[in-house]
Each structure stands twice: as structure tokens, then as C-alpha cells.
């Protein structure tokens, strides 16, 4: 019984943290946030060089053969730094091919995804906030016509794996005929999304299964929970640091008891959530019976609390927190993305109750 990270895991987190502090300091973060495509090739290359895209890919396909927990703890670190870029879509694309692809497809795509030679993305949502595998209606056919919404880095990706009805999956290559991308004004500019329209677009089928669909979806929930925990922890650190430097009425604002209690309440919500997301990732690989429910609970609870914590953090900063130039605005928007993407907390709380057979 050891509910702890190993020394190697802590070292991995540290090296990613050090890399991000160097490569993506606040000024760079804001530049990327304000850029047209929200994607820094240099930053992404660094993430690739750290081996992050290779983590859950088995060694036979050029990966590191690690578990989802390993990827999740690094996702926490990426979330702490509100790291912009295509990481999430790439990871889900990889997991989808791993879970749903044929041997040939795995051999064709996984080494390239693991090495970062190509960029992958993932699409599932259809109109009216339908995200869940059982809500999808687009079916696997020879060619596809229809819409997928909120697709991560649709323009930049070399391949997009789409989740379809009945546990099906299809792979779409960049520049396929009939594929068009429609962009809208984004809230979270650290993760660019766009709608894609398919018009008789040729696709490659993946075998798929409802189990594979569930696993890919759960992976997404767990990674969002991990990212949210990192972001929420960052909120606490940021608010505490500000309270220790800003003075009013001749004293540090952190010496006011009202501030202390606000910050203590925030920390009280955030710190214990670490074990919840750890366990959801651990359950994915080791406790199949509990896995689905734990993933939904972690996503619902942690993304919910991240958004509230981000709001509280802005309030704790006063006027500066309400500006575009303050990092807290990026945290708030990241939290909004994590809250809504793949369904809001109430959607997942309902699933948690249903999955327990209450």
C-alpha cells in the first residue's frame, strides 16, 4: 500500500516544471495567448523532447510504455503553468489509436505521434453540447458528411481522430477533400478549438468498440481533472504570493483576517483534490470496475472547484486581477474551458450517480 509518487515520477514533474519556467514565463505565455493560433512550435518541440507525447505509447511502437498516472501528473504540471498548445488533443488522438486502432494502424501512427513527427488531434462533440460517447450520432461510413465541434488545433493537426456513434472511430488526414475549419472567438486561447465541417470527406476507419470509446473518453476526463488541479494549485500560490507582497492600510493585505480565511478556504478546497485525480488515473490502469465512475467524479469535482478558485483568486488580487495582462485572467479562462469541455460538472455528477446504481 503506497499512495505516493515515486522518486522518478517526482523528478519527471520537476524537469517539466523547470522547462516551463524557462521556456514559457509569463511574458511568453501572454504572447502565445494573444497570438493568432495559440501555438508556439518551440514550446511544443520542447514538450516533445521531454518525451511527454511518448509516455503512454507502448515501447513496441516507439513509446515509453508508462501508465496514465505518469501522463496525468505531468498534465498537472502543464496545467500549473497554463501551458498553451496542442498537448491535450495530441494525447487523446494517441490514446484513441492505441485503444481503437488495428495492429497496422498502431504501427503506422503511434511511432509518429510518440516522436512528435506528426501532430494529432481529437474530435467528439456534436451540436447541442453532446459529448458523451453514447450521445454521438455521426456514424462510421466510407466517407463522412457532418459537423464536429470544438476540435483542438484542427488547422494545425496532421491527423484528427473522431469519436463516432456506437463506439466507432475514424481518422481524418489534414487537407482531406471536403474538410473545412470554422473558427470562432475563443475564451481560452491556450487551447485553440474550431468546428470542422465534413462534406463527403474520405476517412480511415478504426475498429473501435464501446469499451475503447469509454477509455478514450475517461482519459480525457482524467487529464482535464489533472490539468485543473494544477491550475487550481497555481491560483492558490498566486493569491498567497500577492497577499504577501501587496500592502494597504500600512500592512500586508495577507495580515487581514478576512483575507487569511478566504485564502485558507481556497487552499482547503484545492489541496485534498490531489489524491482524487491521482486515484482516478491509477484506477484507469488498475481498478477497471471503479475506473469510469472515478474519472467522472474527478472531472466533475476538480473542474468545478478550479473555476471557483480562479474566480476567488481574481477577487483576491483587486483591480490588477481584473486586467488582461495579469496571469489570473488566463487561469480563469483555462478553468472555463476545463469546466465546459466534455460536459459540465452536473452532466458528470449525473453519470456518477447512475454508475453507482443509486
Amino acid at each position: 500500500m503506497e499512495f505516493l509518487l515515486s522518486d522518478e515520477q517526482i523528478e519527471m514533474q520537476d524537469s517539466v516544471r523547470r522547462f516551463l519556467e524557462k521556456t514559457c514565463p509569463s511574458t511568453t505565455l501572454h504572447e502565445i495567448f494573444d497570438s493568432e493560433d495559440g501555438h508556439s512550435r518551440e514550446l511544443w518541440q520542447g514538450i516533445v523532447d521531454l518525451g511527454i507525447p511518448a509516455m503512454i505509447v507502448p515501447e513496441a511502437y516507439g513509446g515509453l510504455g508508462l501508465e496514465l498516472l505518469d501522463l496525468a501528473i505531468l498534465t498537472e504540471t502543464l496545467g500549473y503553468a497554463t501551458t498553451p498548445g496542442p498537448f491535450l488533443g495530441h494525447a487523446l488522438c494517441t490514446q484513441a489509436i492505441l485503444q481503437a486502432g488495428s495492429e497496422e494502424q498502431k504501427q503506422a501512427w503511434l511511432p509518429k505521434l510518440a516522436s512528435g513527427e506528426i501532430l494529432g488531434s481529437f474530435a467528439c462533440a456534436e451540436s447541442n453540447d453532446c459529448w458523451l460517447p453514447e450521445q454521438l450520432s455521426l456514424k462510421s461510413e466510407q466517407s463522412l458528411s457532418g459537423t464536429k465541434q470544438h476540435v483542438l488545433y484542427a488547422d494545425e493537426s496532421d491527423i484528427i481522430v473522431m469519436a463516432l456513434a456506437e463506439g466507432g472511430f475514424a481518422l481524418l488526414e489534414r487537407g482531406a477533400s471536403g474538410l473545412s475549419v470554422h473558427k470562432r472567438k475563443l475564451t481560452d486561447r491556450t487551447r485553440h478549438i474550431a468546428d470542422i465541417q465534413l462534406d463527403n470527406t474520405p476517412i480511415e476507419h478504426l475498429a473501435g468498440s464501446t469499451d475503447a470509446a469509454a477509455k478514450v473518453f475517461d482519459t480525457a476526463l482524467i487529464l482535464l481533472a489533472a490539468d485543473s488541479f494544477g491550475g487550481a494549485r497555481r491560483c492558490i500560490d498566486q493569491a498567497v504570493e500577492y497577499a504577501q507582497t501587496r500592502s494597504q492600510f500600512g500592512v500586508l493585505i495577507g495580515s487581514f483576517q478576512a483575507m487569511k480565511h478566504q485564502l485558507a478556504n481556497m487552499a482547503l478546497e484545492v489541496e485534498p483534490m490531489r489524491g482524487l485525480y491521482w486515484h482516478s488515473a491509477y484506477a484507469f490502469d488498475h481498478e477497471p470496475l471503479a475506473a469510469r465512475r472515478q474519472a467522472a467524479l474527478a472531472k466533475a469535482h476538480i473542474c468545478d472547484r478550479f473555476l471557483q478558485t480562479a474566480r476567488n483568486t481574481i477577487e483576491a488580487h483587486g483591480g490588477i486581477g481584473y486586467t488582461w495582462e495579469c496571469d489570473t485572467q488566463i487561469l480563469l479562462k483555462r478553468a472555463l474551458f476545463n469546466y465546459a469541455y466534455l460536459g459540465t460538472p452536473s452532466v458528470h455528477r449525473k453519470r456518477v450517480a447512475d454508475l453507482a446504481d443509486w
Partner: protein, 399 residues
């Protein structure tokens, strides 16, 4: 990370389970005795086998086992499966024994520890006073060293309040001012006092629940031997901190919250709301899962703290949060329970004997407030988290 137990621990679990099969429920010849005798018999057996009072040396009645948090967890899990008695409840075992083992003299340990473990000596905690609650160090109960019939003794005057179960206790551990000229904290000593003496008057106080679980205790030239002081004169604050530490960590266990949540689920299944079981109501379901998010976070946070302690690592400030997290979960359980109880809120459970119907939840509704106040109020917990945990400027040195 590995949430399974290795072979050594699985073997240990089997051994514990086998011990329990033969001992709880107790064998037929013991089963005829009253419940408290059955429990006493069982505890003696459990101590002999090394399952209870593991940190207490054998010479003082414990089982003196090497510290092993995982084994302790397995024992707790297996015992609770068959509802076998754990260590005897009460403030004496929870707070006094660990304090004596840490700070007491050999004579004090010999005199008090083993009889406290067996439940022969019952203790009350004498800290709070009418004018010294959260600001405990402002306490005014005095103790002076004077000549007595058998040499020097402490003579105590003053008043304590909110002392849980003092009306049934034999002894009290008391914080009293012995060095009137020293500073606020430096003037306090930690004394052990026999409650069965003429200089002491105990008046039970009726609580919000209708029960009388705490008391006022008046000291009017009450006496205690000169060597019944724990630690040095003026060290009482430090000694009491070691006690509070034990109290907080024992309150912090997530298992209490998990069990409470399970009971709430059961209540939701048994309650009818809008013509169907309340558990089928979408709003109730949503609120239950919201609460479960907190309960499970607390649970896995405790697993992590446990694992870190076993690996001799420091888990940082999360340990300071346990009491307040449990308190908040208790409040939230009460909030949900009140909406499930409906008309049952109109009737109090009996003060004596066990409530069996839904009205027993009134005890949780009110008891959760006691949890919030006792052992340091929630505001005091927030002060501690903010100042000691987050490193914000200190207001006072008291917390």
C-alpha cells in the same frame, strides 16, 4: 503507487481476521457476561496479540509494537468489518496517554497509563474556562505549591467549563496558572487532579441536544500532589500542544466522513420525496455527488498522508486541514439530511437510550456543530492554516 498490500501485509490481514473469528463475537462462555465485560475481555486478548495500544510499552499495559501505519490500518479495517471494539474511547486514551508517554515521569506512567487503557480510570479535559476559550492561554485558574499533610502539594482555585463527561470522570488533566509573574504562555502548568475530593464541584450543563455531556468544574482549594505535574513548571502550554496535536489528528481521520456519507446515502434510499425514493431525485443525486467529491478527496488525501508518514516524508500543510475538512463535510451532511428528513425534523430523539428512527439524525444535525466548536473552532483552524500552512503574517502567537 500501489494500492494493494504486499504479501507480508496480506498475511498479516489473514492473521488478524483469524484472530477475530475466535474472539469477536466472544466465545459462548464469555457471551453471558455484560457487554462491558465482554469488551474488556476482548481487549485483553487483542493487546496480547499486538493489535491494540501498539505504541504503548508493555510495562504500561500496551502491546509495544513497532510503528507500522499500514498494519494499524489493516487492524482498523478488519476490526470494523466485524464491529469488534477498538481501543477504549474517551479523552484519556485519545489525549492523556500519548501526552504522558511523551512528557510524563516514570512514576506518572506507571500510576496512570495502564489503568486508563483498560478504562478503569476515566479522564476529563480541563482546558477551557468561561473567559478563556479560543484564547486559551488567557486562562486564570490558579495553582499554588503549599505545604500539606504529606509534604508539598498544589492547591487549585478557579473554574473550568465545557469539560466533556467530567461528571463520570475520576481524574482531570488541567491547565492552570502557576507562575503569575511569567508571561501569558510561560505561566501555565499541566496538572493531574483527582476529581473525587471535597474541593471540587461538578455541575453538568444541558446541551443543545438535550443531553448532558459536558460540565462546569469548580476548584475551591482542591489539592493534588506536588509531583502530579506533567513537564516542568511553566511548560504546560508546550505539553498541552502535544495533546492537542493528538486530538486534531484523531478527529481528522477520513473514515469518519466516509462512514457518515454511507449513512446519508442509506437515508436517501429510505426516504420518500415527491412520491419516489429521494435517491432518485435529480437534485438530491447532484448534491450527493457534489458531497462525495469532497469525501473522496479527503479519503485519498488521507491515504497520501498515511503513505507519506509510513515513508517518513513530510506531507506539508495538508495535515493542518483535516479537522476543518471533517467539520465541513459534517455541515454538508447535515444540510442534505435536513432536506431528506422533512417532518422528522419536528421531533427530538430520546436523550436516554438509542434512537432507531430517522429522528436519530437530529443528533448528527446538532452534533456536527459540536465538532465544529470543540478542539478549536473553525475560525481558529483557518487562522492556523493561513498562518502556519500558507505562511501569511501572524496575528498572535497563540494559534
Amino acid at each position: 503507487m500501489d494500492l494493494s498490500y504486499n504479501a507480508e501485509y496480506e498475511q498479516f490481514r489473514t492473521t488478524v481476521a483469524e484472530f477475530l473469528k475466535g474472539h469477536w463475537p466472544v466465545p459462548a462462555e464469555i457471551a453471558e457476561q455484560p457487554r462491558h465485560k465482554q469488551e474488556a475481555w476482548f481487549r485483553t486478548q487483542a493487546i496480547e496479540n499486538g493489535y491494540l495500544y501498539r505504541s504503548v510499552p508493555k510495562e504500561f499495559g500496551g502491546s509495544e509494537q513497532e510503528a507500522d501505519i499500514l498494519k494499524a490500518t489493516i487492524i482498523r479495517e478488519e476490526f470494523s468489518k466485524v464491529r469488534a471494539p477498538m481501543e477504549a474511547p474517551g479523552i484519556g486514551n485519545m489525549m492523556l496517554v500519548p501526552t504522558l508517554l511523551e512528557c510524563g515521569t516514570q512514576a506518572q506512567k506507571e500510576r496512570f497509563v495502564s489503568k486508563t487503557l483498560t478504562g478503569e480510570y476515566k479522564w476529563a479535559q480541563g482546558y477551557s474556562e468561561p473567559n478563556a476559550g479560543s484564547d486559551l492561554a488567557s486562562l486564570r485558574t490558579r495553582a499554588e505549591l503549599r505545604d500539606g499533610p504529606e509534604g508539598q502539594q498544589w492547591v487549585i482555585n478557579g473554574q473550568k467549563i465545557w469539560s466533556t463527561l467530567a461528571q463520570y470522570a475520576d481524574y482531570m488533566f488541567v491547565l492552570a496558572r502557576t507562575e503569575p509573574d511569567a508571561g501569558k504562555h510561560a505561566g501555565i502548568s499541566y496538572l493531574l487532579i483527582d476529581l473525587k475530593q471535597p474541593g471540587i464541584t461538578i455541575r453538568p450543563i444541558k446541551q443543545v441536544t438535550g443531553g448532558t455531556e459536558f460540565c462546569e468544574v469548580f476548584f475551591d482549594d482542591a489539592c493534588t500532589p506536588a509531583d502530579w505535574i506533567v513537564g516542568q513548571r511553566g511548560d504546560g502550554w508546550k505539553v498541552s500542544k502535544s495533546t492537542l496535536k493528538h486530538e486534531r489528528s484523531s478527529i481528522g481521520g477520513a473514515q469518519t466522513s466516509v462512514n457518515l456519507f454511507e449513512k446519508l446515502l442509506q437515508l436517501a434510499k429510505e426516504t420518500t420525496l415527491n412520491g419516489q425514493p429521494a435517491i432518485k431525485d435529480p437534485i438530491i443525486r447532484d448534491r450527493l455527488v457534489t458531497l462525495e467529491g469532497y469525501v473522496q478527496s479527503h479519503l485519498y488525501s488521507n491515504y497520501r498522508q498515511l503513505s507519506m508518514a509510513a515513508a517518513k516524508q513530510n506531507s506539508g500543510y495538508v495535515g493542518l486541514m483535516n479537522k476543518l475538512i471533517n467539520t465541513n463535510i459534517g455541515h454538508e451532511v447535515a444540510a442534505l439530511a435536513k432536506d431528506l428528513l422533512g417532518e422528522n425534523l419536528l421531533y427530538m430523539p430520546p436523550t436516554k437510550g438509542r434512537a432507531t428512527g430517522p429522528e436519530k439524525w437530529l443528533n448528527q444535525l446538532m452534533g456536527s456543530l459540536g465538532v465544529a466548536i470543540a478542539g478549536g473552532t473553525s475560525n481558529i483552524q483557518r487562522n492556523i492554516i493561513a498562518e502556519r500552512g500558507l505562511g501569511l503574517p501572524r496575528e498572535s502567537g497563540d494559534t
